[in-house]
Amino acid sequence: MISVIHAVDLKIGYSPDSILAKINKLEIEQGDVVSIVGKSGIGKTTFLKNIAHLVNPVSGTLKVFGTDEEPKRGVIGYIPQKLGLIKHETVYSNVLEGAICNESILRSMSGFHEEKVIDKVKEAIELMDLSDKIDEPVKRLSGGQQRRVAIARTIAQGPKLILADEFLSELDDKTVEDVWKAMLEYVESNNITLVIVEHNLERAKLAKRCFKLEKDNEDYSILSEVEA
């Protein structure tokens, strides 16, 4: 199996004096569906940002796809807690933001997109059942629909690893079920690794492997695997 995330003696936080969490050993492989659960402020989001190369680890080893350097364009899909959508823009434009990872910077900035990029946008929108909302500004959509747009943006990107930060929060049970099902179907059929962060243990157990971040005797929290 291909190692997607490999962490040993990893300390995450903002500085050596303010360590949030320690990860002794973690191995996540291609196709794994993993959740990380823990209370607010314990370091879950920071860990996700470390994996996404948005924040550097304080110390230790963290390799993503076998390297500690930034991965190739489009390999990591990140869905932040508040989704990170451009609210004034249409569904199409938001999903296109993900799809442009599949073409050159010159193409993407000039606006002369390749046909395959446009096809990816349409496919992702169709897959998330948003075709009738394609020209709607995102701000006019419901919470569940906005989450679908965020997933469609990531799908259009064609990533090998998806990091989703509490993307099921503030949704009713039925919508959670729908959004989760859509995401799971996509990652399983494409052998994509999915790491979600959750503070709700029930939702975290929807994943196949579940890790818990909790305070030990030390000042920082420790990551350990729990039964899913």
């Binding site: 991965p71 990170g84 004034h88 933001e97 910077i105």
Partner: protein
């Protein structure tokens, strides 16, 4: 009543008392200079300022003007139109130049080693008021509207650039994080995230800057940089204060008109949730609903 509210009277008294002390220090015991001020003002007003001389809206003899309607050849019209044109061009140029500089000065897009020098450049351009830039450019390119445009453009870049980078830095981290994690470069992030997310504020600031430049356009004309200020300056030199007051009254109404149009136009961009269309009077006398 909470503690903060109890402290308001003490705070206001402190400010008033401090202001009074500083004023006394500035007057430096020379109270006599203030004694006749009201009388002087009254004399000046009745003998020199009032009534306004409305010849400023009649055609001037030089330079020759072929337009059929007298008003279109008057100093008031020519001056105001030139001021408006200077403001329009300098706001446009200023916006085009300031936006790339502001993105480079934003610390959520670029590291401090890049952002701080650009902030320094913008601060330097802002430090000199437009009238000083106008003096500089009048020396450099001579009297006329070109030096006015250059002066106002420089000041606009500094001022608008600061407003723009503050807006960009106020962006939520989430869209930026999502784009950075995808591997988009800064150019793509600016094009696809920063500009769409801040567009409403950027347009609103553009209107504000135009309005500001119209007001300041009258000042820079005084040093020979074109516009209505040129005529004000000329009349001041010949002690024709009645013409100056006439021009100032016209300028006042033009600025009010632009201000109202600008507030109305900006209201379409500031709040993205609903398009509101306030009444003109509502802009001045806002009432709580």
């Amino acid at each position: 009543m909470n503690l903060a509210r109890k402290k308001y009277p003490i705070f206001i008294s402190f400010i008033l008392f401090t202001t009074y002390l500083v004023f006394v220090d500035l007057v430096d015991g020379d109270w006599a200079s203030l004694e006749n001020s009201l009388e002087n003002l009254s004399t000046f007003f009745h003998e020199s300022l009032w009534p306004p001389n409305w010849k400023v809206i009649e055609a001037q003899s030089y330079p020759t003007c072929d337009r059929s309607w007298d008003f279109l050849c008057s100093p008031a019209y020519i001056g105001i139109m030139e001021t408006l044109k200077i403001a329009l061009v300098s706001t446009g140029f200023g916006f085009i130049i300031s936006l790339p500089l502001a993105t480079l000065a934003s610390r959520n897009l670029y590291s401090d080693s890049i952002a701080l020098p650009f902030r320094f450049v913008l601060a330097a351009m802002r430090t000199l008021p437009s009238i000083i830039w106008a003096i500089f450019f009048v020396i450099l390119v001579g009297l006329g509207p070109v030096s006015g445009v250059l002066a106002m453009t420089f000041y606009t870049v500094g001022y608008l650039g600061k407003l723009q980078y503050e807006t960009i830095e106020g962006l939520s981290n989430d869209p930026l994080d999502a784009a950075k994690a995808m591997g988009l470069n800064n150019g793509e992030i600016i094009q696809r995230v920063v500009i769409p997310e801040t567009a409403n504020n950027l347009i609103s600031q553009l209107f504000f800057m135009f309005e500001y430049n119209v007001r300041h356009g009258s000042v820079i004309g005084i040093v020979g940089a074109g516009g209505i200020g040129y005529y004000i300056s000329t009349y001041l030199k010949f002690l024709q204060y009645d013409k100056v007051i006439a021009l100032l009254i016209i300028l006042f109404f033009v600025v009010i008109a632009i201000d109202l149009i600008s507030i109305k136009a900006r209201s379409y961009f500031v709040d993205d949730a609903t398009f509101k269309s306030p009444s003109l009077f509502g802009n001045i006398f806002r009432t709580k609903k």
